[in-house]
């Protein structure tokens, strides 16, 4: 049976037929987009009028997020900006340290067990001026229970005095660059970097295994996707032990699971041939809603953490260059084996030196294994310059840029990390477009909130939190941004033949909008109201997510 949906407007992303009024669906696939008269030719059908006053677009594709965003919502949100939880509740931003403490105190009062840990996330003290959050601040929300608050970057954990005691860190003589000490010679409660965080995190309720792969988190993530109009989302990345894969297969296989998840296997516990073998084994387990077999590699750290690898002239504030997260030989080996076996690799490069290394290694690997259409993708790739985009184009490399960064940390990039000139060229969407490099844009949720329309707004307007337009010339227009969060992102996942546009034969994945994103105006793109999604022909209203 064919269902024909009537809509106020259908934006197809199919350049041959960019607009339609109706779309016909059979067995989860699109049979056509056009007028009712055209689609009626398919035969017996049912006309569904529920979207008659809505705008349909291809389902949004988030090609760099982490399902962990779903996991975090069981903890207390203390971010600076308003944020929507999986149930649709908007949590107002905590604008001061006192507001953070109040939020924690309220949550603490709801916990029956006085010794139970309290966990919170998305703290961003960069907005609180020079003042750092200290254990005494968190003690005001509870001295008897351990409290841990993860920063928005994910790279710093603030804990209270009790948590330091439990972790064995409340002692003089602690000597670690990631553990600042107060005037009393004791840790202030700020724990920077993975090792200091791991010392305390089990005591404050951040269980690593839960964060890595968690059923409830995956379900919450699905709900968030519905609210944000996302029908396909990458989980970038996961160690993907077989237990986790089985759980993901089971959950995504449920008739009511609303999203296609694309988990990437991280080069970490496995490398070399073992990694590629595992990727190939995973690929065989793929289903429609769980696409396995791609690999993620991390080359360097983060810009705001000064651990990204930069070329000359380095960090604007004079900080020493960042860290390599993988030896170049390992990167070369991974690329070569992946090309030989047809496995796609996505590489995290934040700094331009990491981007240059990745391009060098890809070029070498391609000389050994010429591979048209490999679609190796650089993830973040925030500082690439024009010459590097030209190399990407020549090598057939795709890029997934991170415009949300401008809004959240653009002012800091301008003032501190990379300085004005490079801050303005960061995440150079217009250069990617002009050079012809296939590109996507992403949120890196939970680092910034999931929401491709917000990400599109960031790429179109390039506004920072303080309102500065950061790199006017790297802005892209609304139509390009909308194509990027659909077909563009799908292309980097090698799914553009199936999703990303509304055309005959593709999967029936739509985002259902109350407002028309092409007509609401560039400044207001982020205000487009999302009714819900259609995924594989199944209808998921946000109100019921």
């Amino acid at each position: 049976m064919i269902t024909i949906y009537r809509a106020r407007r259908v934006l197809t992303m199919n350049p041959a037929r960019p607009e339609a009024t109706h779309v016909a669906v059979r067995d989860g696939r699109i049979v056509g987009a056009g007028s009712l008269a055209e689609l009626a030719g398919w035969g017996r059908h049912e006309l569904d009028e529920r979207f008659a006053d809505k705008v349909l677009m291809p389902g949004l594709v988030e090609a760099h997020s982490h399902a962990m965003e779903g996991t975090f919502w069981r903890y207390v949100y203390v971010g600076y900006f308003d944020r929507m939880d999986p149930d649709g509740k908007i949590w107002p931003g905590a604008k001061t340290i006192d507001a953070v403490v109040d939020r924690l105190r309220e949550a603490s009062a709801k916990l029956a067990d006085p010794a139970a840990p309290l966990s919170a996330w998305s703290l961003d003290p960069i907005y609180f001026g020079a003042r750092r959050v200290a254990r005494e601040d968190l003690d005001r929300a509870g001295r008897e229970r351990p409290i841990g608050v993860l920063h928005a970057s994910g790279h710093i954990l603030n804990v209270n005095t009790k948590a330091l005691e439990l972790a064995g860190l409340l002692r003089p003589g602690v000597d670690h660059p990631g553990v600042p000490l107060g005037d009393d010679g004791l840790p202030t409660g700020e724990l920077k970097g993975p090792d200091p965080m791991m010392i305390a995190s089990p005591h404050v309720g951040f269980d690593r295994e839960v964060l890595a792969a968690d059923e409830l988190g995956l379900r919450y993530f699905g709900k968030l996707c519905v609210r944000k109009g996302v029908t396909t989302a990458a989980d970038l990345a996961n160690l993907l032990p077989q237990d986790a894969v089985r759980m993901m297969l089971r959950v995504t296989g449920e008739d009511t699971y609303p999203v296609r998840i694309v988990p990437l296997l991280r080069l970490q516990l496995l490398s070399g041939q073992a990694l590629i073998d595992r990727a190939l084994e995973l690929r065989k387990q793929s289903t429609d809603r769980l696409r396995l077999g791609m690999v993620k590699v991390v080359a360097d750290g983060s810009i705001q953490g000064f651990s990204a690898r930069l070329r000359l002239p380095g960090y604007y504030n004079g900080a020493p260059n960042g860290l390599w997260y993988i030896p170049p030989e390992k990167l070369r080996e991974a690329y070569r084996l992946a090309l030989a076996h047809g496995v796609q690799i996505h590489t995290h490069t934040n700094g331009d030196e990491a981007t240059e290394l990745a391009l060098d290694c890809i070029e070498e690997a391609l000389r050994c294994h010429p591979s048209p259409d490999h679609r190796f993708t650089l993830q973040h790739c925030q500082l690439a310059d024009a010459a590097q985009f030209r190399r990407m184009k020549a090598l057939g490399v795709c890029v997934n840029l991170f415009p949300n960064h401008h809004f959240y940390w653009g002012d800091q990039h301008y003032a501190t990390t990379v300085g004005p000139e490079r801050a303005e060229r960061m995440n150079a969407c217009a250069t990617a477009l002009a050079t012809g490099v296939p590109f996507a844009i992403h949120s890196d949720a939970p680092v910034t909130p999931l929401g491709p329309l917000f990400t599109a707004w960031c790429a179109v307007n390039r506004r920072t939190a303080s309102g500065r337009v950061l790199g006017e010339r790297e802005r892209i227009d609304v139509a390009t941004a909308l194509r990027t969060v659909t077909l563009g992102a799908a292309y980097t996942l090698k799914l553009d033949g199936e999703i990303g546009s509304i055309e005959c034969g593709k999967r029936a994945d739509f985002v259902v909008l109350e407002d028309d994103p092409e007509r609401i105006g560039a400044e207001r793109l982020n205000d487009v109201r999302i009714w819900g999604i259609v995924q594989g022909g199944r209808v998921f209203p946000a109100s019921a997510a």
Binding site: G168, L169, R171, G173, V174, D175, H176, P177, G178, V179, P194, D195, P196, M198, I199, R208, L239, L267, Q268, L269, L270, S271, A274, R309, N321, L323, W324, Y325, I326, P327, P328, E329, K330, E353, L357
Partner: protein, 301 residues
């Protein structure tokens, strides 16, 4: 935590510098010492097959009571598991990944009270280290690793031309004392910060490598530990490694350890104190000079 902290040596150096060969050599010559080894390099457990008794997940049981584990992405969890083992390992070697900065690894280990840092040894491949240090991408990482070393082991020295080897050695000596390390052969005492009391039970250093000498003192009274520590790093004394548990003039008991040009002291809580052992190259260890520094520190008390 049961009893004294486990001494930890961090082994750094880029890929191919010979860390794996070194670890295999140590495990092969561990005798009855329960050495634990943590390796990182992305999931490989590169231990010679004949040394492995059994395998359980990421942990290999090695003949003679040693264990080898890979820590993947979570060093802290691996350290916690290791400290909970019965019996506890007597020593721990942590093989840092090829691009890791060893001091950061050592600092992280020191966050757990079960462990005590016992020095950083960085391996340098005689044939390639200078080329690597000039590499656009790797140069600063290699130099940072070398600069953090207490001792540098020059590996595969036999593969380099003698002149080139000498130039490399001189170049490396700006960072730390340099020792040749052919096929991973280096005395355990240099890598493992054995407590003085257990030195007696170590295989004689001569048995491993005739080129080393040691001098030991017992029954020492209270002395200026900080001053002694500083003095033992003077390169003229030829001390490559020193370890002591000493009573300080302030009344406390301090551990002292020297690895090459780096010295560290830390307050410890042990009954027996007043011992010191120094190790160096045969013919280069200045016993008289060490005694003089020791008596200087005793008189300062």
């Amino acid at each position: 935590m049961s009893g004294a902290p486990i001494p930890v040596t961090v082994i750094g150096g880029y890929l191919g510098a010979g860390k794996t060969t070194l670890v295999n050599h140590l495990l092969r010559h561990a005798g009855r010492l329960r050495i634990a080894v943590l390796v990182n390099d992305f999931g490989e457990l590169p231990i010679d097959a004949d040394l492995i008794e059994s395998r359980e997940g990421d942990t290999l049981a090695i003949a003679g009571g040693c264990v080898c584990c890979s820590f993947g992405s979570d060093l802290i969890a691996a350290l916690r598991l290791l400290a909970a083992r019965e019996p506890q390992p007597a020593y721990l070697l942590v093989e840092a990944s090829g691009v890791a900065l060893p001091r950061a690894v050592a600092a992280s280990i020191s966050l757990l009270p079960d462990y005590a840092n016992d020095g950083i040894v960085v391996l340098a491949d005689a044939e390639t280290v200078r080329e690597r240090a000039a590499d656009t991408y790797l140069g600063d990482t290699i130099e940072r690793q070398l600069a953090e070393a207490g001792l540098i082991l020059l590996t595969k020295p036999e593969l380099a031309e003698p002149d080139e080897r000498q130039r490399t050695r001189v170049w490396l000596e700006r960072y730390a004392p340099v020792l040749d390390c052919e096929h991973g052969r280096v005395p355990l005492e240099l890598l493992l910060g054995a407590q003085p009391a257990t030195y007696a039970r170590l295989p004689a250093s001569g048995g491993l490598h005739p080129a080393y000498d040691s001098v030991a003192f017992d029954g020492l009274g209270p002395l200026d530990v900080a001053r002694l520590a500083e003095a033992l790093t003077e390169s003229s004394l030829g001390v490559l490694r020193a370890k002591g548990v000493l009573r300080d003039t302030t009344g406390g008991t301090l551990s002292l350890q020297v690895v090459g040009r780096r010295a560290e002291t830390a307050r410890v809580n042990v009954a027996e104190a007043g011992r010191l052992v120094c190790i160096g190259l045969e013919g280069r260890l200045d016993r008289g000079g060490i005694e003089a520094r020791l008596s200087g520190a005793l008189h300062a008390a």
